[in-house]
Symmetry: C2
Subunit: 478 residues, 2 copies
């Protein structure tokens, strides 16, 4: 029995235990280094050996996913030391579980033979997941080691782009013909030693491998054994094509509560299956990637990657933001004369820009969500713009009014107050308009509106806010 | 066969079709209104009736999840008109599928009798999902209509807080004793007409309902029927308690690729089960809620909610941001004298603040992610701070240098350039420090670091950036 709260606590205890064993190991290593003892002698010492065996025992008792978790939580040196202690026959499973960034550090540490040995333990669909990270020559050797059937499968699996059903599917399909009885089907199943994970249904095909329906396993259990497959199979099947977008497939899995589903080619021939565990991993990875890209992190960063790798991962976003900041700065530059005369403008202008950015991002978040859920159509787009402009107007009058009062309290200049109120209202209207239009335009041109919208909106509301506020001030105050 | 791409296209075609039928309906309604015809007469016209029947036919043919999708994509009036056309016996299933905001609009449109009729079609766990949205008197009537066993179940299901396993679990459990043979087990299963959805395993219990293990259905299929349940069951089970945090449960489902799992109370007594479809819905809802709250939207907004409802949903975030903007504005106010002398400072200061905010949010995103994945422990926190400070220093020197050059090109003042470079570097270091510390402190005090960190970071880097830049300028330029 593995109580989930206990197992969570146990995992974090195990991590602490591993870290403390690693500290002992480092202590010994440092001694070697300082005293210039022969490393060989020392490794032979009993303490060191026991330490190592203890670590190995801990690792061997853990689920591959848990070993992966521990490897991810360790700095590079410790991670690689531990990785060497993992049993060779578990390498493959653990490589599949670790994140991409960490996987690269582990693979870089293995030689071709180790990689080949690890890969040989895996199924074709798992190999396809691993292949993009393998060195070219290893992949070549691996291909040659496969029989023709599996080689062809691997090649076809590798041919599907990321984010398609083809890249997520596996080949663990169990099939029966429609004209046999359940008894014959059951006898056939019994001859297999075990069924693949997530087999909630077996696939019914004709002699050309074309899909005719699916037979839920529970149906076999509750029905008389002398009926034919045809009589009890479900003919109305949700099915996928390898080139279907993974995101649509994920939505279908959620909507229709699927555990597994057949994947067929253009001629309706069964080529693989998609299972809920792959779909769930995909959803998690996507939401993770979204969150990273919203902060302008191009890819997942290994938590212990070098400063230089991190700088490279983050620089593009900073560069883009600097360009938009420079533009906003030049807009202010246009009005240096006005600021020189009324210095209060300099203190007030960031407020106008800031509230526009926040409000615009709220609007964009709503629109991006509506697009993702398929709730935005041509027919309701106009009502959306109207609504957002309405919200902006109400917010503008409320918050613009409040800040007008604050401005009067600070500077005792009612004209400055009025300019402040008007500028905030206008900038919120601009933010609402851009907040609706920018994601829709990005979507129209096939770009992901979740990623770039925020920079664009903020650029508009910053430059726009400065221009509106300083422009109004120049007209009415000077 | 339902091809997923086709079915997606078909759904959006269906939506268009519904919208155009609704337009015809509105046309007729408008005619009634304008010509002051007796509504009754007109509803009797054949065209209008046909229109209505066509809509009903479309709705009846759709999966409840698809009807929910269409209802969500329609403005309130159309939505309620369509809702009246939905067959009464499908109301319950559809109410379960729509989003919370839309569900409230639908329930508000139903009288007590309709609600009771809809609720009576649902299982106890489904009722528990719906109950919080039902009017009190309806819930009371509903409780009374249940038998003692189900009433107790519903009450216990309602007693678990949101985001716990108890709130997600269902009661569709199939159990066997460990000492019977597979043949007896199979005969028992065959007597049930069908097994609950997502039954990949049945639960093995003793006479006190204590869990002893699980029996995967595939195990029954591939084994000889004369072995006992005990011989082939899996005794090492991942199991949950009703009070476990849903997020931990979701991670366990991903990590161990579960389809269903038993939920037990403190005495190891089986009380329910958790299935992958509920877990997947939970993951999607959480990532959706996270995205909304990051933009300061307190709750999901019905796409067609009123302007006033939207203003209320968004105002808290804008208020918080205005307060931080006001503080930043007062920091600038401290240096009005300096700005009056060197107006260029006003144009350059937003750049310093902006790059700090962007960089700080990148750091926070990494830390929040590390916290969520459990990769941050006391032992590696210090190395994390060191790394982020390193990244900030490199970025500061690069981008600070670039902007120093730009400043020189614009204002031909090398001292101003140096102040710019120094201020950017210092603000990036501040951003890195705050970017690590703020989410860790929030996490320590049990707050969700994903939600408030961004406002706090931006507040620090704005006020801090202005203070550093204008302060350095005042010291070195004046």
């Amino acid at each position: 029995m593995a109580d989930i709260q206990e197992s969570k606590d146990r995992l974090s205890e195990t991590l602490d235990q591993v870290v403390s064993l690693l500290k002992k190991h480092q202590l010994v290593e440092n001694l070697v280094h300082k005293q210039e003892m022969l490393k060989h002698d020392l490794i032979e010492t009993i303490v060191h050996r026991q330490n190592k065996i203890e670590l190995q025992n801990i690792l061997n008792a853990l689920h591959p996913a848990d070993v992966a978790h521990i490897l991810e939580a360790l700095p590079l040196d410790d991670r690689l030391y531990l990785w060497d202690l993992v049993k060779v026959d578990r390498d493959g499973d653990i490589l599949l579980e670790v994140s991409d960034a960490v996987r690269q550090t582990l693979i870089a540490d293995m030689d071709s033979e180790e990689l080949l040995a690890a890969a040989e333990k895996l199924g074709t669909d798992e190999l396809a997941d691993l292949a993009p990270d393998l060195p070219k020559d290893v992949l070549q050797d691996l291909m040659e080691s496969l029989d023709a059937f599996n080689r062809e499968r691997l090649q076809s699996a590798l041919s599907y782009p990321e984010h398609t059903v083809g890249a997520l599917m596996d080949f663990d399909i169990v099939t029966v013909r429609e004209d046999i009885t359940l008894e014959v089907a059951l006898r056939y199943l019994r001859r297999l030693d075990e069924l693949p994970d997530h087999t909630d249904k077996i696939f019914v095909i004709d002699r050309h491998d074309n899909i005719k329906g699916v037979l839920p396993i529970t149906t076999i259990l509750v029905n008389d054994l002398d009926v034919t497959v045809q009589d009890v199979m479900a003919a109305d099947v949700v099915l996928f094509h390898p080139e279907d977008v993974a995101d649509d497939a994920a939505k279908a899995f959620e909507r229709y509560d699927l555990v597994s589903a057949p994947v067929v080619d253009k001629n309706n021939k069964l080529v693989g299956r998609l299972t809920v565990d792959e779909v769930m991993d995909y959803i998690r990875e996507e939401s993770d990637a979204d969150r990273l890209s919203m902060a302008g992190l191009r890819e997942e960063e290994d938590f212990f990657s070098s400063v230089w790798a991190s700088v490279q991962n983050r620089w593009a976003w900073l560069a883009i933001n600097l360009v938009t900041a420079l533009i906003a700065s030049r807009v202010i530059g246009l009005f240096e004369n006005s600021i020189g005369k009324v210095v209060a403008l300099a203190a007030l202008m960031p407020i106008v820009a800031g509230i526009g950015g926040n409000s615009g991002n709220q609007t964009t978040t709503m629109i991006v969500r509506g697009l993702a859920l398929g709730q935005i159509s041509g027919s309701n787009m106009r009502s959306q713009v109207t609504k957002e402009l309405g919200v902006a107007l109400v917010n503008g009058l409320i918050w613009g009014g409040v800040l007008g009062c604050v401005t009067y309290a600070l500077y005792a200049d009612y004209r400055l107050s009025l300019v402040m109120t008007a500028a905030i209202t206008l900038n919120l209207l601009l933010a609402a308009l851009m907040g609706v239009v920018i994601p829709l335009v990005m979507n129209k041109f096939g770009r992901d509106p979740a990623v770039g919208s925020s920079v664009l909106i903020t650029a508009m509301t910053d430059s726009g806010g400065f221009f509106i506020f300083l422009g109004l001030a120049t007209i009415f105050l000077l």
